[in-house]
Amino acid sequence: MIFNPAIIALLLSSTATAGLLVYAAVIGIQVLHGWNPLSGSEGQLLLERKTSLVSTILGYLLCFHLVALMLFIHTADALHPLFTGAMCAAGTLNVNGFGYPALLLKLFNTLAAGLWLIINHADNQVHDFPLVRPKYAALIVMAPLAALETFLVAGYFTGLKANVITSCCGSLFGGDQGTFAGGIASLPPMPATATFYAAAFVTLAAAFFVWRWGRGAILLAVAGMITFLAALVALISVFSLYIYEIPTHHCPFCLLQKEYNGIGYLLYSLLLVGSVSAAGSGLLQPARKIPSLGRTLPSLQKRLALAAFFSIATFTLLVTLKMMTSSFRF
């Protein structure tokens, strides 16, 4: 294991978030068992009070998740000089089998916390808390995932041994490789770009529809998720080339480095906010059938659609500008 303040901080944050989420899940089990909004018993009153505790915990958790996610990628990137052959986070994460699963699970848990808070916000708008059961059932699924993330992060960092020869980002994302990432990198540029622009256009149109007429939230959620994936694929296969201005460099992590003004942090944040807002808007759609939520949900969905619209539009505008101003040409 490499002994470094950032690694200690990441282990601490993973353990703390998993601990808090497990605590919240225990309250979730109590709520699922004993929740009865018609009762005025002391137990029900206590459970109602505990829901505000769980909301607060999840609010903090999202904040911790976001800081830890950025720090995780930054640390993986900063550790690359310790490994022969690693040139950025792409190589460092590949040093052992825990790196990429830990990153993907971190990303998933952050998205899940964001979506949970959206549903919670919708639920708290009305007094009969109609979404309590699905909300707390979700917590019971999220807690083991957080524990698994802690295990993967710990496994990754304790398994790091400086000097291990790893594939660098040049070979991992260099195309002509049998790996999944290499496959993405070698995708033909035109279809990848076209897919992204088509998905982004549909998302923007759907977001506009939801905002203007309050319809099409499911389409927005599906299109938002497809845009998220298409944007990642296009970033690796096409946009990165325009940003790095090197025809062979496809790495999605080097975007975070100082040399490119950390543009990756902005691009990934926009994508995260855009896709969470789009997915959240669609996720709330089935709940509109509940009478008490029927009045409050449309306005929340509209606000989410607006957030998705601006995030995806800014992302699209940024990458398009980069492509137009870059000296790289296919």
């Binding site: 303040p5 200690i8 990441l10 944050s13 607060t56 950025m70 000089p81 310790l82």
Partner: protein
């Protein structure tokens, strides 16, 4: 949105007045909190700045150093090997280096002695580092005596002192002509301490190193990358060790914060009771508690981080330098280049603010969910 923002601003406004009303009670918490941020921040700023310093200095180090090992120990390398190494494709230059250590009985310090002919030194001349000059109280032009390997005193004239700006590299360095070096240490004329090898393409360094070992199996190649990696690991390790030692203090702080947050005074309970009876709900009181934590954390975090910055970059890090730098009789005096980046602030946040927030969530909720009637009666 504006309504929500106004609500939060009003709660924040109330929080600050409420904190100021009990400033003496919060001061001790903020002080302990800042000290913790200061200690962890100092360790991190210092180790990162040292890593950067090492990286900048080693940028000029040779691509490859070739040593010879005899029975597992470093031994002078025959000069004849230089030609063969030079003929390897990709090698641009091979320069034999002569250097060694000298123990000075007068002040108990170790000097680094180097033999070099490219500095225009005449026989009997010597250039010395500022640290040696300080400790032996000599200046340029003075006579300087050293005892050679046969215990015979040798006299040198100090030609010049190295610039104080290069202290980190030259504080204990002495450079003399090659012949003086060889006679001083009785060093064989057909040997060198090691070879500095330059390689045209940095990607070929490992291949060149492999070829040299193939040619001379008793040689040990040391790549620049390896040296950089070792320095980075050393400072990482030292920083990590200090953080683990400070972990006990963090734990104590967490218990203190927990205790403070859960032990509400009668006045505070009364205040929450009144707020709830005039229409604040549990969520509002939780917001109040959130802003209370945010104001305290931000104040302590900023105070601690500024103090750590001043400690490391404006002063010569008096509290930690011995533990983190290592020590020597002649230690270079140097000022670290200020360098703080996102990751250091994020690490500091996770190591200090996260435990505080995590420890106060449940007590804050307990405080916020008190029954107004019971709270006011108490």
């Amino acid at each position: 949105m504006t309504c929500w923002l106004n609500r939060q601003l009003n709660i924040l406004d109330y929080t600050i007045t409420s904190l100021l009303r009990r400033w003496w009670k919060n001061l001790s918490l903020i002080f302990i909190y800042s000290v913790l941020v200061f200690v962890i921040g100092s360790v991190m700023f210092f180790t990162r700045a040292m890593q950067r310093e090492a990286k900048l200095i080693l940028a000029d180090a040779p691509d490859l150093v070739i040593q010879r090992l005899v029975a597992g120990r470093h031994d002078p390398i025959p000069l004849a090997r230089a030609e063969k190494i030079r003929s390897i494709r990709g090698v641009s230059a091979v320069s034999p280096r002569l250097w060694g250590y000298y123990f000075d009985r007068i002040n108990g310090a170790n000097y680094t002695l180097q033999g070099a002919d490219d500095r225009g030194l005449l026989p009997g001349d010597i250039d010395i580092g500022a640290g040696i000059a300080r400790s032996r109280k000599i200046e340029a032009g003075d006579i300087f005596s050293l005892t050679d390997s046969n215990a015979i005193p040798q006299v040198f004239q100090v030609r010049k002192l190295f610039d104080a700006a290069s202290d980190l590299l030259t504080v204990d360095l002495m450079i003399m002509p090659t012949e003086d070096f060889q006679s001083f240490f009785d060093f064989p004329a057909d040997r060198a301490t090691d070879f500095a090898v330059s390689v045209r393409n940095p990607r070929e360094i490992a291949t060149v190193a492999g070829k040299i070992v193939e040619l001379f199996p008793d040689s040990r190649p040391i790549m620049k990358d390896e040296i950089l990696r070792t320095y980075a690991s050393i400072f990482d390790w030292r920083g990590g060790m200090m953080i683990v030692m400070v972990a006990m203090a963090v734990l104590a702080f967490v218990i203190f914060a927990w205790d403070r947050a859960s032990g509400l005074s009668a006045a505070e309970r009364h205040e929450i009771g009144i707020l709830k009876s005039i229409g604040w709900d549990t969520g509002d009181v939780l917001s109040l508690k959130f802003w209370e934590g945010a104001v305290i954390s931000l104040t302590a975090f900023l105070a601690g981080i500024l103090a750590a910055y001043a400690h490391i970059f404006l002063m010569p890090a008096p509290f930690f330098s011995h533990a983190l730098k290592g020590w020597a009789v002649l230690y270079p005096s140097f000022r670290l280049t200020p360098y703080v980046d996102f990751s250091q602030v994020a690490v500091l946040f996770i190591l200090t603010v996260l435990p505080y927030l995590a420890a106060t969530i449940v007590p804050s909720w307990l405080a916020a969910s008190v029954d107004p009637d019971a709270a006011m009666r108490s």
